[in-house]
Symmetry: none
Subunit: 208 residues, 4 copies
């Protein structure tokens, strides 16, 4: 079944409709960040938003739909930000730095949303039990792999298995963000400098 939002037979969502949906998605993100995916419930979301449980199911078809939106809307927003930064660079090494740096920058500015998003991505399963966002993550790896290969071809980067390294780099980056998100005293800017330097040495030609 389509979501209420996407139903073509439904009129353009009103301003109130949009505001309520945004409010609920926001409240859901806060709840996931606070109590974790497993303990996120309609009751907690409603309480956080200060509305009745009924409102939630009036605006959304299911809990899954809300959590999917929490994850995908924010993921997409982040990706638009990162993409623009990458596009501004020409060299592969510059693009890698732009990607990682802007990823830390963007998500570092939205701690709650990031926590929610990563919790949902890690936990959301399809009915058959498989991870629901596996393909999105694979696409990211594909994108970075391509950049790395170009860098190798252009002689900027040293030889290595581009796909494996792309995966490692992305895992590092979310890893650092998770460390920061769960330990708020972390100085993310300092971590960012260290990570960029770490990656630079790991893949750059000039160091080998």
């Amino acid at each position: 079944m389509r979501s209420k939002q996407e139903d073509p037979g439904r009129a353009k969502p009103s301003f109130i409709e949009q505001a309520r949906r945004a409010q609920i998605v926001e409240a859901a993100a806060e709840v996931v960040a606070e109590v974790g995916y497993a303990r996120t419930s309609f009751a907690r979301i409603a309480a956080k938003a200060g509305i009745s449980k009924g409102v939630i199911t009036y605006h959304f078809d299911s809990k899954d739909e809300i959590l999917r939106l929490v994850a995908t809307e924010f993921f997409a927003e982040g990706w638009r930000y990162i993409e623009a930064r990458i596009a501004a660079e020409e060299t592969a090494a510059g693009q890698v730095r732009a990607w990682i740096g802007s990823e830390l920058e963007f998500f570092g500015a939205h701690r709650t949303r990031f926590l929610a998003m990563s919790d949902i991505i890690a936990n959301h399963r399809t009915e058959d039990g498989s991870h629901a966002y596996a393909s999105e993550l694979a696409e990211e790896v594909d994108g970075l792999t391509e950049i790395l290969r170009r860098g190798q071809h252009d002689g900027e980067l040293r030889p290595f298995d581009a796909r494996s390294v792309a995966n490692i780099i992305l895992r590092c980056t979310t890893g650092v963000l998770e460390t920061w998100a769960t330990n708020p005293e972390t100085d993310l800017e300092a971590e960012s400098v260290v990570l960029l330097d770490f990656i630079d040495h790991a893949i750059g030609r000039k160091h080998s």
Copy 2:
């Protein structure tokens, strides 16, 4: 409340008692690996073990206790394996390679348990909502930090913020394991080679 196992007023656990507990912990690990932390229930564990739900609560105080054991017993077992490998090395760089290599090796040999452990570590919360295993992870980082600092002091490793890099390295490693665990077609040995090479370039003096 202490767990039934640890209660000092309780007689030494019999062989049967120990076997049952192990059986239940094993079944719980399989369930977590299959359906994920959020959908793990007594009913599913009992079904997987082929026993009644009552047996579980007879041997364990709570669901939390079982899942804690799934994570900590395996974590400890893994750590003993890794520790021995580290102890066999003398140089810091050798110890880092031994750590990462043996971590991939050990967990790579126990996919189901690893999936369960990392799912539980990522999701288990204390009553107040905070992550339950934060201190264990911090200890790991502390251990690796110390090795890195020694390597820097001995001139084996280039200068960098040792704590931040220790965290990055550990996140990389679990990241690669998670990639493999959720994509079973991954060639973990090949990934291992790439990762060790990646880290080597990132922290070694000879490349800078």
Copy 3:
């Protein structure tokens, strides 16, 4: 409480009002026929009619009122048709044949409406739990009983308990219609011939 339609303090229903009510009643009939009485809801009726749920409660006091109309309007329409056919006959046997034949004919031409009507009649209960249309059915039996008695008095029909037989005949007839309505491949005209012949033999004098 009276229905909005009947409320004497309310102005004469406009054309639009009447059209909307008819549209809703029609949609409700389709929903009942499709998903059954128990699963008929405002949401489904509104979706079927392509309108919002609010419209329904604007035009009707309650769900019960709509379903009552679905059943009674169609029942009344059917009865007017049947009545006219009966009136055109003079003999009791002829009137019985006219009744049964025209009942099959009329409802056989409106499958969806018939399904809805019979589902509602079978399921609609008053607040105290008793069947809501018991008296309507009793009246039908009364009417047929009278015809049968006249037939017996006139010597057309053999002796039997007229009231019991009237009930049997009416149950047969709705039974055949239900068979057809739930098995659309049924040839209702053929069934009609068989049923009329069956009844004729059962009550007629010439066969005994």
Copy 4:
């Protein structure tokens, strides 16, 4: 998914288990008979049985399973009774009389159960919306059709479309039972005599 009862991994149901299940099925039948299929709920069944709602879902997988049992167990019990009566007869006409007579006799002795059964058969739908017991009813018609054909072949019964008439006879019979079940002042024995006589005239050779 199999029902709890049928699960082969489950031990033979204990006496208590059987008793509870029977108690719940009985309570469910009473509720359906009283308030109708659409208003039958776990809450009402539990209240009627004097137990908590949880007990019901402990012993049964779903509401559907309970209602299915209410209908099918009783239907099967009735059929065993009727079958034995049919088997004791030799002529087709005798078998028809035995069938109808014993059907009225058996169900007439269990008013509540009959009401529940017929309500469930009339209302229970599969997920796609089609009637769940259509095939069971068709089988009954098949069985009676065969008897009628034999009667025609042996010259006991007059010519008619056996299948259509079988359906009519069975519809008559349940119709009479429903009349009695919803109007408890009805004298079912008297109705039975009238119905058997009615059918006898309708299909017998000697009357034509």
